[in-house]
C-alpha cells in the first residue's frame, strides 16, 4: 500500500484519485539520473568506512578495558566512555563545527601551533569520510562496547584457569580464549549492523552537508529526503528510497549467507 506512490504523480492534497498514474516513470528517471552512481558510491563509501573502522574498535576497547586491574578506574572509564552516546546529532554536529573551524576551533589552533595552515575539514570533500568516521568513533565506541563487556563476563572462567595452567600468558589467553568467546556476538552484531548500514547515518550526514562538500556527502538517503521533502516529488523519492531498502536487504542476506558458510553462525 505505502508503495503505491511509486506509480503515481502523487499530490498530497488530491490523494490517489486526483493523481495521475505514471507507470514506471519514476524508476526510469532514477536509473537514468547521471548522478545515481555517485550517490551509491558515496553511500557505500561513508557506510563501509564507518563499518570497517567502528565495528572492531568497541571490541578491542572492551578487551583492553577488561584487562584493567583497578575496578574503580575501569568503571569510571566505562561510564565516561558512553557519555557521548547521549549527545544528540544536532549537538554533535555543532561540536564538530566548533572544533573543526579553522579560525576559532581547536584543530586550527593546534595546526597553527605546529606551524601548518589549518585545514577546513568541512569544506573539503576529501576529508568528509574522515570527519564521519572520527565523530562516529567518538559517539559509539563506549556504547557498543557495553555488549562486548557483557559477553566477556559470560566467558567461562575455567577456560582462563586451564590456559594459565598450560602456561599461556595474557596475550595467549586473549588470543585463544577471549577472542573465540566473543566470536558469536561479533558476527551476529556485524550482520545486524550491515542490515542497518544504509539507514542509520542520515541525520549526521544531512546536517554536515554544505555546498562545498556535497560531492562526497550526497548519498541515497539524503537524496531521497531532498527529492521528497524539499522538491515534494513523492513518487521519485519513494522509488529512490525503495532502491536503497532493496540494497540493504540484499546486503543483510548476503552477510548472513556468507557468515553461515564461513562461521556457521547466522541470524535466521
Amino acid at each position: 500500500m505505502v508503495f503505491a506512490h511509486l506509480f503515481f504523480d502523487y499530490k498530497l492534497l488530491r490523494g490517489f484519485e486526483g493523481s495521475k498514474y505514471v507507470g514506471f516513470r519514476w524508476f526510469e528517471r532514477l536509473f537514468s539520473n547521471p548522478n545515481l552512481l555517485q550517490y551509491i558510491l558515496n553511500t557505500l563509501k561513508l557506510n563501509l568506512s564507518a563499518l570497517i573502522f567502528l565495528f572492531p574498535l568497541p571490541m578491542i576497547f572492551a578487551i583492553l578495558l577488561n584487562e584493567l586491574r583497578n575496578l574503580r578506574f575501569k568503571k569510571t572509564v566505562q561510564t565516561l566512555s558512553y557519555l557521548p552516546h547521549f549527545v544528540s546529532t544536532v549537538v554533535l554536529v555543532s561540536m564538530i563545527m566548533t572544533i573543526a573551524s579553522p579560525s576559532l576551533g581547536l584543530l586550527g589552533k593546534w595546526a597553527r601551533a605546529a606551524g601548518q595552515t589549518p585545514i577546513n575539514y568541512l569544506a573539503d570533500p576529501d576529508y568528509f569520510v574522515l570527519v564521519n568516521v572520527v565523530s562516529g568513533a567518538w559517539q559509539s565506541i563506549g556504547w557498543d562496547a557495553v555488549i562486548f563487556m557483557s559477553a566477556l563476563a559470560g566467558i567461562d572462567q575455567g577456560l582462563y584457569e586451564a590456559a594459565r595452567i598450560d602456561g599461556a600468558n595474557r596475550w595467549k589467553q586473549t588470543l585463544h580464549v577471549t577472542l573465540p568467546g566473543l566470536m558469536t556476538t561479533f558476527v551476529l552484531l556485524l550482520i545486524m549492523r550491515v542490515g542497518q548500514m544504509l539507514s542509520v547515518n542520515f541525520e549526521k550526514v544531512y546536517l554536515l552537508q554544505n555546498n562545498l562538500n556535497l560531492s562526497a556527502s550526497e548519498m541515497l538517503p539524503t537524496f531521497v529526503y531532498k527529492t521528497g521533502m524539499e522538491s515534494r516529488n513523492y513518487g521519485y523519492a519513494t522509488a529512490a528510497g525503495l532502491f536503497n531498502s532493496v540494497i540493504s536487504l540484499v546486503l543483510v542476506f548476503a552477510a548472513n549467507h556468507i557468515s553461515r558458510r564461513v562461521t556457521d553462525i547466522s541470524l535466521m
Binding site: 544536532v90 549537538v91 584457569e161 523519492a237 536487504l249
Partner: protein
C-alpha cells in the same frame, strides 16, 4: 556475576607478573586515559566556550577550561522564549510518548512470552522484520499526512511508539519470570489484562525502567522525525530549535539580536558563547538522568544481547 568473575580471576593471579605484563598494564592505563580525554574534550570545550569571556573566545584561546568566567550567555538564553517553548514541547512528547510506549510494548510482548495461539510465529516475524525493512522516509511521511497527523506531536509519538528491538527486550524479560505465577493467577480466575497489568508489569520494573529511559532519550534527541512532521514554529521540539539557533546561527538573526546588536565584535563572540550555552542547556536533562540511566542501561543491553 561480573564482580564475582573478576574477583575469581584476581585470586588466580598469584603468579608474579613479568616485565612484559607490567609494561602492558602501564601502556593500557595510559591508552585508557587518552581515550577518556578523547571522549570528554569536545564536551569540555563546549562548556568552556559558553562560560568564557568574549575576547578569549574570539582569539580562539579557549580549550578545556573557561577563561575569565562570563555568565552573560546564560543570562541571554534565560529570556529566550523559543528555546523554552522547544524544551516544553520535547518534555511533552517524551513524557506522553514514554507512557504510551511502555503500555503498548508490554501489550505487544505479553502474548509473545506467555501466549499459545495459532499464528504466534507469524506475529513474531511481523514484528521482527521491521528491524530491517520499513517504508522509508517518504512513505512514512505520506502515511502520517493521510492520517491527519502531520504537524502534530502525535506523529512523533506514534511513529516510534512500538520499536521491534524494545519488544524483543521486554519479551525476554517476561520470559525470564517464572511461568507458574501466570498459571496460578489464571487458575484463580484472573484474565489476561489483569495478569499483565497487576502481576507482570509490577514484576518487570527493571526492564521497563530501562526501556522508558531509552524512549525518553530517543524522543529528546530525535531530529529526523521532528524535521519530517513538524511545520509550525510554535510546535518545534528542542532539536529543531537547536538546529535553528545553533547551526544556522552564522547567518541568522538570533545571535546578533540576542547580543544587543551595536557592538559587532561582542556580538560575534557572544554568538559563539550563546550557541554553546544553548547546547549545554539542552544536555542538562540528560546529564541529570544519566546516573540513573547508566545503571539500568547495562542490564537492558545485556538482556538484549543474551536473548535477542
Amino acid at each position: 556475576m561480573t564482580q564475582q568473575a573478576i574477583k575469581k580471576r584476581k585470586r588466580g593471579d598469584f603468579i608474579r607478573r613479568s616485565l612484559g605484563e607490567k609494561t602492558f598494564d602501564v601502556l593500557n592505563i595510559l591508552l585508557m586515559l587518552a581515550l577518556v580525554c578523547f571522549f570528554l574534550f569536545p564536551i569540555l570545550n563546549m562548556l568552556s566556550i559558553s562560560l568564557s569571556n568574549e575576547y578569549a573566545v574570539l582569539r580562539g584561546d579557549v580549550t578545556f577550561y573557561p577563561m575569565g568566567i562570563n555568565l552573560q550567555a546564560y543570562e541571554q538564553i534565560f529570556s529566550h522564549s523559543t528555546l523554552w517553548q522547544g524544551i516544553m514541547n520535547s518534555i511533552l512528547v517524551a513524557g506522553v510518548g514514554c507512557v504510551l510506549s511502555i503500555i503498548s510494548l508490554s501489550v505487544a510482548a505479553y502474548p509473545l512470552a506467555f501466549g499459545d495461539f495459532y499464528g504466534k510465529k507469524l506475529y513474531n516475524v511481523l514484528i521482527l522484520i521491521t528491524m530491517w525493512f520499513n517504508g522509508g522516509i517518504i512513505p512514512t511521511f505520506l502515511t502520517m499526512s493521510r492520517l491527519g497527523l502531520h504537524n502534530t506531536h502525535w506523529a512523533l509519538i506514534f511513529n516510534t511508539m512500538i520499536t521491534a528491538y524494545y519488544v524483543v527486550i521486554v519479551r525476554s524479560y517476561f520470559e525470564s519470570l517464572p511461568s507458574s505465577i501466570v498459571e496460578s493467577a489464571r487458575i484463580d480466575g484472573a484474565n489476561d489484562f489483569r495478569i499483565l497489568f497487576q502481576l507482570i508489569i509490577p514484576l518487570s520494573k527493571p526492564v521497563l525502567a530501562t526501556v522508558s529511559l531509552w524512549v525518553i532519550v530517543g524522543h529528546w534527541n530525535d531530529y529526523l522525525n521532528a524535521l519530517l512532521f513538524i511545520a509550525d514554529r510554535s510546535k518545534y521540539t528542542l532539536q529543531l530549535v537547536l538546529k535553528e539557533m545553533v547551526l544556522n546561527a552564522e547567518s541568522s538573526v538570533y545571535a546578533i539580536s540576542m547580543s544587543g546588536g551595536t557592538d559587532t565584535v561582542g556580538a560575534a563572540a557572544l554568538g559563539q558563547q550563546v550557541r554553546n550555552a544553548v547546547l549545554v542547556v539542552s544536555m542538562i536533562p540528560m546529564v541529570i538522568l544519566y546516573p540513573f540511566v547508566q545503571r539500568y542501561f547495562i542490564t537492558g543491553v545485556t538482556l538484549g544481547a543474551v536473548k535477542g
